[in-house]
Symmetry: C2
Subunit: 433 residues, 2 copies
């Protein structure tokens, strides 16, 4: 890889998600050369992917060019590349555009979909972890309604208009709510000659409640909101397979052309990490300094890092807030190291969690406050707006949200690239960053 | 095709461009059943495609869902379909989703690229007639800079950083200006480790001046503006072929990875129209009522229609303003017909033309006024903003333009779907609508 060699230790960061980007921006690059690698030239604001999928926001407003975020950082380089493997012995990262030597390596490759080895699901479900997947879902949903209009076969029409979402965590709940609002408010006007009552949104959850990571009260409220919008909720239900358009579960079967997978994630570990260092959830085992206990020049952050504590025996939660805190923490650690200072361990501050179901319907939990409804919904919007990277993005998202609040109708129901079923679903997975 | 049969004459409109959409919206659908067919579910505001290609606007803000525009029209149906052929004898349109009988057929399929039979150009150039092509160009340009950073081969780097635009009509001029502004103001900050002086923008024109359809004064001003921004202009130059990254012309050769084709368009005539009825520019010959002289229930509008007048012996200009006037005209004609009234011939009102080269740099011509510079630029922006369909789109475009005016930097330089060279360039062309 064509990176100048200078007289500073080189930190290579793989992945420009919440953790990697925060780290790269906060390292004092007078003391280090920083190389940030990602296969996309933009940072994705994953918490709003579901709004792109449900035609609520344009993709461009939840993405931000990595180069723009690093403009004022000297000794800092971005390269668009897919990491193939890490050679720990020679301290080299191998990518599709060449090799790069590192002094310190930070793995912040995030999480990918976990299909728990179920090939029928992996081959036919639509996941929602990237911008292109969210756009695929937007296209597919709209294509299905166009097709439903043109068929006289009632079984086929039902299949096209049934949406099955697996996993009632925040992503599944938020997407189910957004699809229900489309069904209730927008699609009947777009498709006056289609009976939208036929559209069904099924939310399937293996545990006994929605938003199982939150308190019972929040979970119950979210359940109530989803019901109110017309979402069918199936708890204690797990998908066994998905063959020929039929979703087989331990209970009911569902006939559906669209299975959305929001049920499981696992760490996306690049090649070259020793299997003994990969723990629960396919995450890289690190100590309280976010450092590998066996390779002291390798660090891991965010979803791909496994820090087990007494409060979190299965590892810290895989969420943006942990990743951002760790990115900031590691930047500070590196900055202290450069000054010869000692390093403190990482302490996760639980800032709470939230989920929105629909207009005026959200649940928010912090240590001190727990509230639901319209105020929670405004808090949710404000927090997400502030977390977006880039002022222009905030303005455009704000315009869209304000618009939707009063009009319920922003006109983003575009099939710009029609969805086509991928022939080789494995092609995308080879790259780690 | 699954369209209800009702007791009204059925007008089938192919194409939801400026002409077809205007027509469908203005026909009095108490008197007719209207079926609008387009292969995309959105209307594209083509005059701003070049801003999507040059990362100035998001694609979603220059597209508008067709269904949303037809919401309040009764007896009006939209179908997403590609027209295969027209059977004039049985009055049937054949599409990829079935057949449809018409009483009147309106062909408003617009124009496609004309490569004048040159296969090496057709196979390797990037055209810019659709939203996906504009996005492809955005991706390709950004990918090229990423690649240029990573090569040490100076000839390869030059090839990646040379952009050749063929055709100095409004599209070519506007795109050349936009790329020059990217080069001058934005890319050096995004790519501090790349020598952006190596980036060259060549504008090739077969005639002896840029904007040859406008007056000498406008043409000279546009030429001066382009020079000022650093665009290399080659008039009296035509491309002979484009092989292995070399653009061969009657003069200089250019070594470039990116050839953008803005040189020629021709009518996109669906199958089934008699060859004798296709005239200059591959356009369907129609009379002053926009009606085929041999098939009186077939009409053609906009770029695909050939109306020859004394002032315009080669047909009316292929531009949005003609298409919109014809769409409105034909709606009025059909409405008059339904009331048993007589029809007047179509009269084109020349509303002038304009082109923008860059910030504060534009040329505007109407019958009465001709002006250039900053005022022309504001007029250009105002007119384009008002012509956009949808208030939300106008707000988002306005935010972007205001932002760019002060900051020159909106952060849309995203490679959401990487550009890949198409294997089969002919696949897209089979469909007419």
């Amino acid at each position: 890889m064509n990176i100048p060699t200078i007289d500073l230790p080189r930190i290579v960061v793989i992945g420009a998600g919440f953790a990697g980007l925060k780290l790269a921006r906060q390292i004092n690059s007078n003391n280090y050369q920083v190389v940030l690698i990602d296969k996309n030239n933009y940072h994705t604001f994953q918490p709003l992917l579901y709004q792109v999928a449900s035609a609520g926001l344009e993709p461009d407003s939840i993405a931000y060019p990595i180069r723009k975020t690093l403009r004022k950082k000297k000794n800092t380089f971005y390269r668009m590349a897919s990491v193939q493997t890490i050679d720990r012995a020679t301290q080299i990262v191998k990518t599709d555009i060449g090799e790069l030597k590192y002094d310190k390596l930070v793995i912040a490759t995030g999480a990918g979909n976990n299909f728990f080895g179920n090939q029928s699901i992996e081959a036919n479900a639509i996941p929602m972890k990237s911008l292109t997947e969210a756009l695929d879902l937007r296209s597919k949903m709209l294509q299905n309604f166009e097709k439903a209009l043109n068929t006289t076969d009632l079984v086929e029409r039902e299949k096209l208009m049934n949406f099955v979402i697996v996993g009632a965590g925040p992503t599944g709940v938020e997407l189910a709510g957004a699809l229900a609002e489309l069904k209730n408010k927008i699609l009947p006007k777009d498709f006056p000659d289609l009976d939208l009552r036929l559209m069904k949104i099924h939310l399937i959850e293996a545990s006994d409640k929605v938003l199982s990571a939150m308190t019972d009260k929040s979970s119950k409220k979210a359940h109530e909101y989803l019901k109110k919008l017309g979402v069918h909720i199936w708890t204690n239900t797990f998908v066994e397979n998905y063959i020929d358009g039929t979703v087989h579960t331990n209970g009911e079967d569902f006939y559906s052309d669209t299975l959305i997978w929001a049920a499981g994630v696992k760490g996306q570990v690049p090649g070259g990490i020793d299997a003994s260092q990969i723990g629960k959830g396919n995450r890289i085992i690190v100590n309280a300094q976010c450092q590998s206990p066996v390779n002291e020049n390798i660090y891991a952050l965010g979803d791909v890092a496994l820090i087990q504590t007494e409060t979190y025996p299965n590892g810290l939660p895989m969420m943006a807030s942990v990743a951002m805190q760790q990115g900031a923490y590691l930047a500070k650690s590196f900055n202290r190291l450069a000054k010869g200072k000692s390093i403190k361990p990482f302490l996760y501050k639980d800032k709470g969690s939230m989920a929105t179901v629909g207009k005026n319907l959200a649940v928010v939990e912090t240590k001190r406050f727990k509230f639901q409804g319209i105020f929670a919904w405004f808090v949710w919007m404000f927090v997400h707006l502030m977390l977006l990277v880039g002022f222009r993005n905030r303005v455009v998202v704000f315009v869209n949200w304000t618009w939707n609040y009063f009009k319920y109708n922003n006109g983003l129901r575009l099939i710009i690239r029609p969805y086509k079923k991928k022939v080789d679903k494995t092609a995308d997975k080879k790259s780690a960053a």
